[in-house]
């Protein structure tokens, strides 16, 4: 095809000028120095303990805040609000510039944001996982210090904080952003620029957390308890700012999801025809929106205590360390259900496809997710059973925490009955979905021990509780996350992932995950507390077993990265539009999905689980290729 006009491409330097990632980084650095300078100009005696050695706490805080603002301005987030203020009409201009450059800046195409999230979160999770390997290296010998003890605590802190912060948006970020408009028959999310903002805020936050090593690290672990967090070095501010940014990102992401799903569903898509993954996203988003503000407020109070000499959390001056614990866990418990619920959604979404049966008990499954979400706000004091807070309400929290296992059980029932009498195919996504049941069962049942206050006296603060949450979060969420990757990457990229390598990855990851974390229950029972750099000598064999298994688990992750890079960058085997034979609407579209999603908005006539009930999918985008390849 010849064109009449010859296209002249501007020189490289010209193309780099503008609002993009490079400008963002440059303005971020400028903002950093602006904040640092401003804080030094505020020469109040109470803020400036170490003026002669340049150790002004406030300087680090303001430097980072201005740095993030500069970064976001450089990326171009202020352009559209300013344009609208000046009277320009609404537009989605940022979607149109094509090519790979879209992935490195502000793009309003939800599919681009989804892939940005996948790679960005993947990078930071890799760093978090590396920290875990370093932690296990330290625990190989109780008497030998590989890292200085303070650095070990920073490693523990970065590992936990990075994982929690990144995996909170771990499924809603990549898969929610990519799939929700497709699943509800829309062309975009309700607030595309806010969507992009949540991604870039998260990336800035991750960088801030890693730079804590230049400021002495932080000694509190991911929970950041007062008053230790007030006593800590400047590295603690990096933790506070990381979590505050994550909180804002979380809140906006959840808001975007809810508004999109409530207002932009295509005709015919009633609430009872929504894919179960969408229900998972709704319940997660509700939790995000309601709990993140509490986190942000708590961290602000901690920041004021550290910089402005307020006393929210200092007992001796009228505050209370209990206040921090209460507020943190009021956010913290819904947070772990924010992590778990998308896993429920993905697993229940995958099982019908690979068992070739409709999702059994759809309304029960939805009730389960909503029930878990609602109850998650009423259980947080089970983290505080032996703390001395409110001794007389412990029976209530035992009751509410036990109660939450009822809606969780609904997910198990619906999954199990979907498999019952099905025609099960053991593809890699299905293997991950099935392993979820094994892992989450162990995680959930050990949760029963922890929710029982007398048993909690033994296990609180020990490796038992650590193994419990790794089984539910890693065994539950991360396995579902990988299931989602193997399932949806052919749709997102148009290329297949190598099935054989995928199966090796699954089996090595599953086996070594269990070999790593199951012995930790025993370590907890034998008296090893959490976050310790040394342990009694009789536990050395157990710790060595766990460390070696953890290294092998890390190796299986490297195998996944190898598969990912090899399949998508080198082999590039084109994937058919519907390799799994799914009746869900996103699989009726070409791979990768075109920029405008649908040629014409589809009309829905049923849910996507019509297996065994006839050949046609429940929704057909008019004009799309009929049937599957």
């Amino acid at each position: 095809m010849s064109s009449m006009a010859v296209e002249v491409r501007p020189p490289l330097w010209r193309r780099l000028v503008g609002f993009n990632l490079l400008t963002g980084i440059v303005l971020g650095i400028v903002g950093w120095y602006a904040g640092w300078y401003l804080a030094h100009a505020i020469h109040a005696a109470s803020l400036d303990y170490f003026a002669d050695i340049d150790y002004n706490e406030l300087s680090i805080v303001l430097a980072y805040i201005f740095g993030v603002i500069g970064f976001l301005i450089g990326l171009g987030f202020l352009n559209y609000p300013l344009a609208r203020l000046r009277g320009y009409p609404p537009s989605l201009r940022e979607k149109e510039t094509g090519g790979i450059g879209r992935y490195f800046g502000l793009c309003t195409d939800h599919k681009v944001v989804g892939i940005q999230y996948l790679i960005g979160i993947g990078l930071f999770i890799f760093i978090g996982g590396l920290n875990a390997m370093l932690i296990r290296t330290e625990l190989l010998r109780p008497d030998h210090q590989v890292w200085p003890a303070g650095t070990y605590l920073t490693l523990v802190g970065i590992h936990g904080t990075m994982m929690m912060g990144m995996m909170t948006s771990g499924i809603l970020g990549p898969f929610g952003n990519y799939l929700i408009p497709l699943l509800i028959g829309a062309r975009r999310m309700a607030f595309p620029r806010i969507e992009a903002l949540t991604f870039w805020m998260l990336m800035a936050a991750g960088v801030i957390l890693e730079t804590t090593i230049f400021f002495g690290g932080f000694p509190t672990g991911w929970t950041g308890y007062a008053p230790l967090n007030i006593q800590a070095n400047a590295g603690m501010d990096c933790y506070i700012l990381f979590f505050a940014l994550v909180g804002i990102s979380m809140c906006l992401l959840g808001l975007n999801m809810i508004v999109t799903i409530v207002t932009m569903r295509a005709p015919g898509l009633t609430w009872t025809r929504l894919p179960i993954f969408v229900w998972g996203v709704i319940s997660t988003s509700a939790l995000m929106v309601l709990s993140a503000p509490v986190l942000i407020a708590t961290l602000l109070m901690a920041l004021l205590d550290r910089t402005a000499q307020t006393n929210f959390f200092v007992n001796a001056q009228g505050g209370s360390s209990f206040l921090y614990e209460n507020l943190f866990w009021f956010f913290g418990h819904p947070e772990v259900y924010i992590l778990a619920l998308p896993g429920f959604g993905i697993v229940l979404e995958l099982l019908p496809v690979f068992a070739r049966k409709p999702l059994w008990g759809y309304r029960l499954a939805v009730a389960g997710m909503l029930g878990v979400g609602l109850l998650s706000f009423f259980v947080w004091q089970h983290h505080l059973f032996v703390s001395g807070i409110n001794g007389d309400v412990r029976p209530f929290y035992i009751f509410s925490t036990e109660l939450i296992s009822i809606p969780t059980g609904f997910t198990f029932l619906c999954g199990m009955m979907t498999l019952w009498r099905g025609r099960i195919r053991y593809t890699v996504p299905m293997l991950f979905a099935l392993s979820w049941f094994f892992n989450f069962l162990i995680g959930g049942l050990t949760g029963v021990f922890l929710s029982d206050a007398p048993s909690d006296v033994t296990t609180h603060g020990s490796f038992f509780s650590m193994a419990h949450f790794h089984y539910t979060i890693m065994g539950g969420l991360v396995f579902a996350f990988f299931g989602g990757i193997y399932y949806w990457v052919p749709k997102m990229t148009g290329f297949q992932l190598n099935e054989r390598l995928g199966k090796i990855h699954f089996w090595t990851m599953f086996i070594f995950f269990n070999l790593t974390f199951f012995p930790l229950f025993i370590a907890g029972f034998l008296g090893q507390p959490r976050r310790v750099v040394t342990y009694p000598h009789n536990l050395q064999f157990l710790n060595d077993w766990v460390s070696v298994s953890a290294f092998l688990l890390g190796a299986s992750m490297l195998l996944f990265i190898y598969n990912f890079v090899k399949s998508l960058l080198f082999d590039r085997v084109p994937a058919p539009a519907n390799p799994w034979g799914s009746k869900s609407i996103e699989w009726q579209l070409p791979s990768p999905v075109p920029v405008h999603n649908f040629d014409r908005i589809p009309v829905f006539s049923g849910d996507p689980y019509g297996y065994g009930e006839g050949p046609a999918p429940a929704a057909a985008p008019a004009g799309a290729p009929a049937g599957r390849d």
Binding site: Y49, L134, W147, P148, G217, Q231, V565
Partner: protein, 219 residues
Amino acid sequence: MLGVAVGVALAGVLIGFYVSKLTTDNGSAAYTVPVQTANGHPVVDLKIETVAAVGPQLSNNPDFVSYLIQNTKGQWKRETVWRLPANATVHVTIYNFDGASGLRNPYLARPLGIDGNVEMIDGKTANGVNPDDTSHTFAVPAFHLIVPIPGVADNAKNQCGYAPCSLSNAHHTITFTFHTGAKGHFRWQCFVPCAAGWLDGFGGPMQTIGYMDGFLDVV
């Protein structure tokens, strides 16, 4: 292919930098104390200084309080991991150049776990110090060993500024003897809240190995 190779190499370099930074940050080199023998029994001499500000030559945090140890060449080093022989007699001399901060728990103001449970302060025996006059303690909790160290008076003349300090500066000399037992890795710490500017006085140098905390590596 080249892009992937560059990416892997870059990742390797970054990880290497990360790991090496973590190994050296906020730690301390180990100092093997020279051992003499008396009657077939190992004897060790430790000469230690506690200073109010460690100075820019010895640290990136020149205003941190710190312990310093004197090596065989007479130099004062900021190393707080000390290798000692097992089943040995350890004679300790501490020169304190720092002012008093006061103990939070007065119970720790009396020597325990050392020979005779008495310490020599400026040549005079003492079985305790006024808790409000303590400047630092040398304590090894695993041995139930505590030695309070009195502080230099606030109005003393010729106080030491940045380390290293000389004996002509105002100071107290504390001597005591203790014994090591079986092999092991035992931490020691100061219990006086001497970290100016941190909450409860226990942050900063009190929570960084190489200043007010360290290890006894009994081999």
